[in-house]
């Protein structure tokens, strides 16, 4: 309960600061796009070699999200959304604390580090590929996981959740409110 209070208090603080709220949303959206583009890199690279028309690229992007939603399941898209937003909130609160207390978050922030890292390859890809061959010597990539990489998203969410708690706690400790 103490943990939840700390997090709720930090979120209230974030919502009362329009600039940092906007920063959190902006970072979240950017991360969401980055995660999807990276996980479908060959798809975007091949269309970019043909056309750089923003409308077409947007169409391809939304098409990929829709397809992953339909084929891999909404939970995959929602998990990536959750990772993106948690990462956005974490980073925005870190910036807020730097502004108000003058210090960056210490070691607990390492959890956020791994959370952001994990999020980068947790989104399902919209092609059946022989991924991870060059990296791990495996064929099938995220398809090898029983839940097609959702496991990584959940781990990233957990890490970012802990990171959020530590940031919230330290905000209280530094009397930032």
């Amino acid at each position: 309960m103490v943990e939840m209070k700390a997090i709720v208090s930090a979120l209230k603080l974030l919502f009362s600061q329009p600039f940092y709220l906007f920063l959190a949303i902006f970072i979240s959206i950017v991360l969401f796009v980055i995660y999807f583009v990276l996980n479908n890199f060959s798809v975007f690279a091949s269309i970019l070699a043909i056309s750089s028309d923003p409308a077409l690229l947007w169409k391809v992007f939304t098409n990929q999200v829709e397809m992953v939603w339909e084929i891999s399941g909404p939970v995959n898209v929602l998990a990536v959304t959750a990772v993106s937003f948690l990462a956005g909130i974490n980073l925005s609160l870190t910036a807020l604390r730097k502004k108000k207390a003058g210090v960056w978050v210490g070691r607990p922030g390492m959890l956020g580090f791994f959370g952001v890292f994990g999020g980068a390859f947790s989104a399902a890809c919209s092609a059946c590929n022989t991924a991870l061959i060059s990296v791990l010597g495996l064929s099938g990539g995220l398809a090898l996981f029983p839940f097609q990489g959702l496991e990584i998203s959940i781990l990233a969410i957990a890490l970012l959740g802990f990171s959020l708690y530590y940031i919230s706690k330290s905000l209280l400790q530094f009397g930032v409110s």
Binding site: S42, V43, I50, W104, R107, A127, C128, T130
Partner: protein, 256 residues
């Protein structure tokens, strides 16, 4: 008292590691945003590698040169081989699809994009569409069996029946390696008016397994790492892209 080697080790190690830890903490606190960005970057690069991405994709109209071709081996042309062709054989644009019948994204292309592509470009004689097999390991045995079944249908009815059987497979399969119900193979053959016993014999003897394997090898030589992968007059287009992507690529080729 002189230190023994063992005592030196015991005394020095904690100091050494303690110093380093303090240093790391100091750095982390001052540079956390940098580390977070570094994490995003490293994660992204890992994802790119994991996706088997080839950053050096050629521009539209270029021959497809694999990035590891090196040593002046020249361009790799993706040929239609002797595979099934749909559309006018004299069409100026050739689309070659490397397909895995068990890939849900190939199925998505079949249901979402292929009908309009067929209506606007194949049926109008602007594009000829070639299908080559690329059954992925993790979708086998169903993926290879379906590829062989389609070849068996072609044996009896030619390219048009091959494409009709292709439609049947995508309509009936559960995708992701689940395959078609066993009876589905012969039901589809019956529906298309094929000689079922000849078809069954062809399928059970895996008569066209080598043909399927050859397609797979050719795809790998052209650096196909996933399905669906298309080559539009040699230019790769990866994934189940929307119709607009094909339209842009085809129109650019037709304008040449």
């Amino acid at each position: 008292m002189p230190f023994t080697k063992k005592r030196q080790l015991v005394v020095e190690l904690p100091k050494f590691s303690g110093f380093n830890l303090r240093k790391i903490n100091w750095k982390w606190e001052r540079h956390q945003p940098f580390y977070v960005l570094l994490a995003a970057f490293l994660g992204g690069m890992f994802a790119v590698l994991a996706a088997g991405a080839d950053i050096s994709l050629p521009k539209l109209g270029d021959s497809y040169v694999p990035s590891n071709a090196g040593e002046n081996q020249g361009a790799v042309k993706v040929s239609a081989d002797d595979d099934a062709v749909l559309g006018d054989s004299n069409a100026s644009v050739t689309i070659i699809e490397f397909v895995d019948f068990e890939c849900p994204f190939c199925k998505s292309f079949f249901t979402e994009t292929y009908p309009q592509l067929k209506k606007d470009y194949i049926d109008t004689g602007k594009v000829k569409f070639v299908l080559r097999d690329f059954p992925l390991d993790f979708h086998n045995p169903a993926a290879t069996k379906e590829a062989i079944a389609a070849e068996c249908s072609k044996e009896q009815g030619g390219d048009s029946v091959y494409f009709a059987y292709h439609d049947e497979i995508f309509t009936r399969t559960g995708s992701n390696g689940k395959g078609m119900p066993e009876a589905g193979y012969t039901e589809a053959a019956q529906k298309l008016g094929l000689n079922v016993s000849q078809f069954t014999s062809c399928l059970t003897s895996e008569k066209y397994k080598e043909e399927v394997q050859k397609d797979l090898a050719d795809g790998q030589a052209a650096q196909v790492s996933g399905t669906p992968t298309f080559f539009i007059n040699g230019t790769p287009l990866v994934g189940a892209q929307p119709f607009e992507s094909f339209k842009t690529a085809i129109e650019a080729e037709l304008a040449k």
